[in-house]
């Protein structure tokens, strides 16, 4: 299974990687238990920085799409298919959107929302 990275695309490289690996899982090109290339191998093949691939793997691990088994390597998570269809970014946008709409309907100004959001993020 081949993956492509477009370095001229406006989408960040790590996000392209995350998206492609999720798509590969959803399309059944890779399935639960399949071994993924090591960070160094993939970074070398795609001529990317190790940190970029590591970041993509970290996000995929957080979403339970992949799992790292120590020195044995990185594998596709048993629930990867289910978890790949769940877009955490989209969910964050929707939830935040609902909250902002609620605040706006209560006549809270955008500037007040920004300050509150910033304070909550800092705390």
């Amino acid at each position: 299974m081949e993956i492509f990275i477009d370095i001229e695309d406006s989408t960040p490289l790590f996000a392209q990687l995350v998206e492609q690996i999720k798509q590969a899982v959803l399309q059944g090109n890779i399935s639960a238990g399949d071994a993924l290339p090591s960070i160094r191998q993939l970074a070398n093949d795609l001529e990317l920085n190790n940190k970029t691939v590591a970041k993509a793997y970290r996000l995929l691990e957080r979403d339970s799409v992949i799992q790292t088994k120590g020195y044995r390597g990185t594998f596709i998570h048993p629930d990867a298919r289910k978890n790949s269809s769940f877009d955490l970014n989209e969910w964050a946008r929707t939830t935040l959107g609902k909250t902002i709409n609620e605040l706006r309907s209560a006549d809270v100004t955008d500037s007040e929302i920004r300050i509150a959001f910033s304070n909550v993020m800092k705390s």
Partner: protein, 292 residues
Amino acid sequence: MLDVIFYVIFLGQIFLLSYYYPWKTYERIAYILEHCPPSQYPKLYPNTNYIDPTIPVRGLVKTFKTINVITILIGVGAIFLAAINGYKPEGHGEETLIGLYAMVQFIPMIFIEIKTYQQNKLMRELSKSGVRKAQLQARNLFDYISPIAVAAALIMFCLVILFELYIANFEFRMDQKFITIVGVGTVMQFFFGFTIYWAIYGKKQDPHLSYEDQKKVGSIATSSAVYTSIGMSVFIIVNSAVKEFNLSYLDPVIMSLYFQALAFFGVGVIFRKFKVEDVNFEVYKKEVNNNI
């Protein structure tokens, strides 16, 4: 009797290193020039400084052939001189000359390797694009070589150390010989390890090569490193045994056989495992722009 065996083996060295494998290399290049013309396979000829891009390749072949012919003449001349002077192998340092001659014989192969490296570099520079691709597949050492071969290489290196200790009656002495053998041996094992790592996980040298062919190239480099490691260990053991049991007159024969084995496992593996007819040359064809 030994002198006849020596002459036959040395002739074998001349044949294998300066005729047989160079001829196989030449056939390979000739096949590519015949079946993959620049008009249809432009990516195969990245040197665009010539109207006919095959000119630098033909020049390379000419130099390659010339060096090999000179090497054959030196070797045959040496045999002739030795024969008329009634030379008999005695192990008074002639093995050094045989080793040096073998190194000279390897020069054309190294020359081809350097040129291939330069060509690949040029290909990479020309094929730089915004889109990069990779296989989403883990590569492991044992996809490239059998665990038995790797275990054999490690066991052989342990045997080298054991044999050296046996010669010293298992009295551990950090003398110069022991340090040289174990130290150089260990450095070489690390070097082979690095070669294997680079072949499996390193950057793709030829940017157009298909994944299957890339795997074959990696497999060849890995096999070559592992078998060379085994050969080196065998050589060290045999060499030590020869010195220990006062069989120095066998040194020239052993040296010649060692370099032939190196060529068989290091160079021969390319021709056995990666036949030119099986290479996917489609990847070097001109890309058709479907957007037009």
